[in-house]
Symmetry: C2
Subunit: 427 residues, 2 copies
């Protein structure tokens, strides 16, 4: 399988432009496709993944061998790996998308104006979505399935270490879709592993309507800096728990443990805890014992460290760091207002929580923390499309335009106004 690393820049550019044009044309062909038709493509893809499992695993073995030779870490190799169970997982994911309602074609509002024209606001697909991601090959299938269900064409660009897996997966689902009449160009995988391919893609605003990057902060920053296409993303999740002076300590401990320890490597895991100074003398020992049991390292501010001499001192950078590990930064604050100001200054606008029995403090926190999702007495780990009832999640946004927080199928649509008259003119 050639990865075109030897293509000249001009050839690569013209191939990518042709992919963009094909995607735009395909997106127009399927924009009004009925749900049953799109579902028949998705179901065929699910079946094809399972019946081609051996070939997919064989392609993946090439990536695994290359990755081991390149010295990828065991964690990265694990992310890269495909096996029967993971392939069934992808197939089941597509079958789940089949069961979700079609987000396109919904009349969002309808109004008849005094002059008699009727204005319907109708959800429609965005058009072409560019998906740029790192090593997990399952994203190839998950992203394609969600974009397609919403009526969009998608251009996929996965990481170079997964190129053989991604090409095999893409070929498998594309052929399955085509066997049920899916037009050419609806799903395409960029065959180029050069970084230059991404740079070209990100300027193709004549063809691509939205770019969604999934991966580490470095990848996402590179995408945002280069793109002339709207990008929806989150850089990181620096999620806070504020333990109010009127917190139930047991509840606060349970939410802290869940937020920090259940799955420390995800973006909605807790990274920071702020404790009201009045509850701190009684609460910090409980927290310190619990985190010691869980093996969590604590970096505290001066006030925290006076109450927990085993903690290390945090440095300024700690307050905005996303550890994705069994570490947490802990600080003491004099008020809910101070907690909110701290979160707005150092947070990432992702998910932040207050534990309190005081409704006024909770309301202040929910109103004033400028984040996508704000919690009162619940774990930040719920920031997830599935937990929100969206059925599936294409990503999480800490942006404010278009989509904020977990993004489901609806966030892969826009709207248009359809206006019905009988000859009205403007006077």
């Amino acid at each position: 399988m050639t990865t075109y690393n030897d293509s000249s820049a001009g050839e690569m550019q013209s191939k990518l432009l042709a992919m963009g044009e094909a995607a735009r044309n395909a997106s127009r062909k399927i924009a009004n496709a009925p749900a049953e038709l799109k579902n028949s493509w998705l179901s065929a893809m699910a079946d094809a993944l399972e019946s081609n499992a051996q070939a997919l695993i064989a392609a993946n073995e090439t990536d695994m061998k290359n990755g081991a030779a390149k010295g990828l870490s065991n964690a990265m190799l694990d992310r890269l790996k495909l096996d029967g169970k993971r392939i069934r997982g992808m197939a089941d994911g597509l079958r789940h998308v089949v069961t979700l309602p079609d987000p396109a074609g919904e009349i969002l509002s309808s109004a008849t104006r005094p002059n008699g024209i009727r204005i319907d606001k109708v959800s429609v697909p965005l058009g072409v979505i560019g998906f740029i991601y790192e090593s997990r090959p399952n994203v190839t299938v998950d992203a394609a399935g969600l974009c397609l269900k919403a009526g969009n064409a998608v251009i996929l660009r996965g990481g170079s270490e997964a190129i053989h897996s991604n090409q095999a997966l893409a070929q498998c689902i594309i052929e399955a879709g085509k066997s049920k009449g899916m037009p050419d160009g609806v799903i395409q995988l960029v065959p180029f592993t050069d970084h230059a391919a991404v740079s070209i893609l990100l300027k193709m605003d004549q063809y691509i309507n939205l770019v969604i990057p999934r991966g580490g902060e470095r990848l996402i920053r590179a995408v945002v800096e280069q793109s002339t296409i709207p990008v929806i993303k989150h850089y990181k999740g620096v999620c806070h728990l504020y333990v109010d002076e009127e917190a139930d300590p047991e509840m606060a401990l349970a939410i802290l443990r869940n937020g920090k320890c259940q799955r420390p490597g995800v973006c909605n895991a807790l990274e920071k805890v702020l404790i009201h100074e009045k509850i701190a003398p009684s609460f910090v020992p409980l927290l310190a014992r619990m985190f010691k049991e869980e093996g969590v390292k604590i970096l505290g501010d001066a006030s925290y460290c006076r109450l927990d001499p085993a903690a290390e001192r945090a440095i300024e950078e700690d307050w905005s760091a996303e550890y994705l590990d069994l570490m947490i930064t802990a600080g003491i604050v004099p008020s809910v207002e101070a907690a909110v100001d701290h979160i707005n200054a150092y947070g990432s606008g992702h998910s932040d929580a207050i534990v309190t029995e005081n409704a006024g403090n909770a309301r202040y926190f929910l109103d004033h923390v400028d984040s996508a999702t704000v919690y009162w007495n619940a774990s930040t780990r719920f920031t997830d499309g599935g937990e929100f009832g969206m059925g599936a999640e294409i990503g999480i946004s800490t942006d404010k335009l278009h989509a904020r927080g977990p993004m489901g199928l609806r966030e892969l649509t826009t709207y248009k106004y359809k206006i019905y008259g009988n000859g009205q003119i403007r006077v």
Copy 2:
């Protein structure tokens, strides 16, 4: 009044960054302000404009004199001019905004999940809006009023030719707002007339959440190219009328006349007419006579010109040109499908209309033209926030992300998820 043209680049940059920080801080202070409070600021501004009309007109006279000396056209000088009537118009505009519902703080949806957490999706202000515009000084007041009503801070940057008018207007409304307790930094006008100031502003994504440019295509393209902040805009309105083979000719003529002639200089005016080849022999003579009466110049394709020998031949560039004048490009098409393909290839995604008595053709057109607003048997001139019942319009978007078509107050908000639990953790 100094316009700081002589500031060093470093001074200008630090002043603009300070403005950005002040705006962000102000936006957080007013994000939860009750409607009555925001309305009291707006009412005070309206009164202050009227009671300071003489001073405003005096400041405007400086701009008018400078503009005349610089050789601005009469049309540009007319746009620039302030008089008692226009000042009353701005004041009444603000009073109208007072009557509109507050778009922030609305619960857009609410769901209780099986685990008992309640997820409320609540509209909230976007934060800080950067408004970049050209010569009309009324935009200073209109944009500030709409941004404020939605709970946002605004940084205004008007054209250099209106700097004295804009400074006087901004000072007047800021002082009036402050007299009723409006915080510092909610409304700010950039005092620098250098283009470099815009370039700096467009990179201040740490402070500004959305940029809205209003003006000619050249201004808007320059903004989009430089901005690292999301921009909502339309470049131009290349609006089409397609006269179907089953059109009512009288209705088609009335909509054509309204779309082209009522106000040719606006973005929702018609620029192109496509005529089905079957109706063309009978319809073109009616159209040609009507446009001759109205003084509209017609540029036709070869088929059109055979039916109307008085028409000039259009060149390729005509099909995507926005004339904003008494000119129209006319072509003959073999089918509704061909009309749709032409519009999707040459149009601007703004407003396009079909006139037909055939519901199937109308549905095909409405479904497949990829524009913000699509009309069946009505004039494209209705693409306007007021006509849509939005109460007021901050602009029109031909983008697909966040806002499409006319933008009202609601499009100046985003949302956040407020989540209420009683100790839930994720299992």
